[in-house]
């Protein structure tokens, strides 16, 4: 059924209670609990679209992110798509389809690499669902969930063996992450999938042009993986049955056997498993100084000698810039990748942040001279999150009220009635 057909057939949504059963051992207010559920979905492909459709029927809050566009082949496995949708960004197209089917909850969309977003973009979600074959994205999202202590549901398929898998990571600091279970073959696949172009250097970014192979599967195997994922999400949200956190669930279509196994942390996992305590501040972070932010994080007092570091949203601190006339010139401000940083005072030519002197995170000793200057005076007025890290503790500072998209990429609201 295409988006347009669906729009014609689906008027206002009925109440969830009209069909929601009283689950055995479940709570009486299940419908309300599901409506409160806030889920960020990364990957709006053949598995992700099915999950989104089910989540939309709960009526909660959804964030959708996908870097891809619909191709003619997408019609073979992606629900709610038709020939007219080919070429559209997947996340926006899905958002439109969900609205057309009567979804009235809050909806946010990001058409681009999820790695462009800051930690703040996921701070309000209760759960993150990952439905992508991109291993680099998997690693990145796994890291975000560990830092924020968010549960992560990863749904995937292996078409050749009719296998559907759902891994549910609790996000606890002592629990596993996607990388904890990587085999040698998966690390090799990550290496094979990642390519770079020298144009990335020109853009001032370490941007990888990932080339994961397309999902080779059938539409029904993808929807089966989505259904299994939804069952786990439901059990998690309503506390049904044995806890699903930190479990691996696999169904094989050849044998119809289901395997459930625990997921554990791998002590040799190379990824950072540090959890960030979240603190929400009134007003804009850009108006505060790094010293004030350190105090707000409870990690103060800040000084150049303190073993502290700062990660200011997507910004890097440029200690020096480079110019053809005079080599390196001091800069001392936060910049975004590829951002012009001004003109050389001597020759008036554009100067660029020197990669050797770019810091992200930036140690307190590097920013000692500017600890008392507000972020907006240092070029990071648009920051929505600041991570302050000490020896053994890390705190993520966020604004109490979310702001619309600024200079750093973020989810954009998809209002009711949006085209």
């Amino acid at each position: 059924m295409s988006t347009r057909t669906c729009r014609a057939r689906c008027p206002a949504p009925p109440s969830l209670r009209a069909r929601l059963p009283r689950f055995v051992g479940g709570r009486a207010d299940a419908a309300a609990a599901l409506r409160r559920l806030k889920v960020a979905l990364v990957g709006a492909g053949s598995v992700g679209r099915n999950i989104a459709l089910h989540l939309a029927r709960f009526g909660g809050t959804l964030w959708l992110a996908d870097r891809g566009r619909l191709k003619p082949e997408s019609l073979l496995t992606h629900p709610l798509t038709g020939p007219a949708d080919i070429g559209e960004p997947k996340a926006s197209n899905l958002a439109r389809a969900l609205r057309a089917c009567g979804f009235r909850g809050q909806l946010f969309v990001h058409d681009g690499p999820v790695e462009d977003l800051s930690l703040a973009a996921f701070a309000d979600a209760d759960l993150v669902v990952l439905a992508t074959d991109n291993l680099r994205t998997e690693l990145w999202v796994g890291g975000v969930c560990l830092r924020l202590g968010k549960g992560l549901v990863h749904a995937s398929v292996h078409g050749e063996t009719l296998v559907s898998q759902v891994r549910f990571f609790s996000g606890r600091v002592d629990a596993g992450c996607p990388a904890c279970g990587y085999t040698k073959a998966e690390w090799q696949a990550l290496a094979d999938q990642t390519t770079f172009s020298c144009s990335g250097f020109a853009a001032g970014a370490r941007r990888a042009a990932d080339a994961p192979p397309p999902t080779m599967s059938t539409s029904f195997l993808c929807s089966l993986a989505a259904d299994l994922a939804m069952t786990q999400i439901l059990r998690f949200a309503l506390g049904l049955g044995a806890p699903v956190a930190d479990t691996f669930l696999e169904h094989c279509g050849y044998t119809h056997r289901t395997v459930v196994a625990p997921l554990a942390r791998n002590p040799a996992c190379p990824c950072d498993h540090t959890a960030y305590r979240q603190v929400r501040l009134g007003g804009q972070l850009g108006a505060l100084t790094l010293r004030e932010l350190t105090a707000a994080a409870g990690l103060g007092p800040a000084s150049g000698r303190a073993p502290l570091s700062f990660t200011v949203d997507r910004f890097a601190f440029a200690e020096m810039a480079g110019c053809a006339c005079s080599g390196q010139v001091p800069l001392g401000k936060f910049v975004l990748a590829g951002q012009a940083v001004g003109e050389c005072p001597k020759c008036q030519h554009p100067i660029v942040a020197h990669p050797f002197y770019l810091h992200r995170p930036v140690p307190a000793s590097v920013v000692e001279a500017v600890l008392d200057r507000p972020l907006h005076a240092l070029g990071a007025g648009a920051a929505r999150s600041v991570a302050v890290r000490g020896d053994d503790r890390a705190v993520l500072l966020l604004e109490r009220r979310s702001r619309p998209e600024g200079v750093t990429p973020s989810f954009r609201t998809w209002p009711l009635g949006a085209k």
């Binding site: 020298c198 250097f201 570091s309 990669p355 590097v366």
Partner: protein
């Protein structure tokens, strides 16, 4: 950045059995051990990242003891691994008005190693920049001001810092160079690539192995 005045003396190195893969067998000099201890006391990040940075730093200092052409000047392990190092290597610089190539004998390198490089492949231009001399004229070195060295289209996850140093030596001395200006990977200065294609007789600038004390 202050100018490079340090001289690297020609001394016969004591290479451990096992060569560059046995740097952990090299006992650090007092000065290098003090530098390592000073950096380690300020080392930040997760436990595994701190451990990795310490191991890389130790390797780099050991390398500087067995390779007379290489000297570590500064190191920073607070967040991203950073090192300022001197490398005695022929560095091709912008030809003069008569088309005569200028070759400097010493490079000041800025080496950075981000935490993600431990487990994810990184772009070949993401690790090393030539801070001095300026005006490097090389197909795989970006033009001023950044002068990043491209060591390949993609460097494997977990690559060792000592391997970056060796690759940089190979690249700057043009023992290993990508000159096809049409290739999307490797060439950061297409003009220099075209120039060098006409002067292949000058390539490489040196055939001396990295550990050899000579030029």
């Amino acid at each position: 950045m202050e100018s490079v005045t340090m001289r690297i003396q020609d001394v016969v190195p004591v290479v451990p059995q096992g060569g560059l893969w046995a740097l952990d067998k090299v006992a650090l000099s007092v000065g290098n051990q003090q530098l390592l201890d000073w950096c380690a006391a300020r080392c930040g990040g997760s436990r595994s990242w701190r451990h990795r940075k310490w191991a890389e730093a130790r390797d780099l200092l050991a390398l500087s003891q067995i390779a007379p052409r290489f000297k570590v000047r500064e190191m920073d392990l607070r967040e991203t691994f950073r090192a300022l190092a001197l490398l005695r290597v022929p560095v091709p610089c912008t030809p003069d008005a008569h088309g005569q190539l200028r070759v400097e004998r010493l490079a000041l390198l800025g080496i950075t190693y981000v935490e993600e490089a431990v487990y994810e492949p990184q772009p070949g231009y993401g690790f090393v920049t030539v801070l001095e001399p300026s005006g490097v004229w090389h197909p795989n070195v970006a033009t001023h001001p950044a002068q990043a060295v491209c060591l390949g289209p993609k460097l494997p996850a977990g690559i060792l810092v000592k391997e970056l140093v060796l690759s940089t030596y190979g690249a700057l001395s043009m023992q290993s160079v990508q000159m096809d200006e049409r290739a999307a990977e490797g060439v950061l200065n297409a003009e220099a690539a075209l120039w060098w294609q006409q002067r292949m007789d000058l390539v490489p600038l040196s055939r001396t192995p990295f550990l050899s004390p000579g030029d």
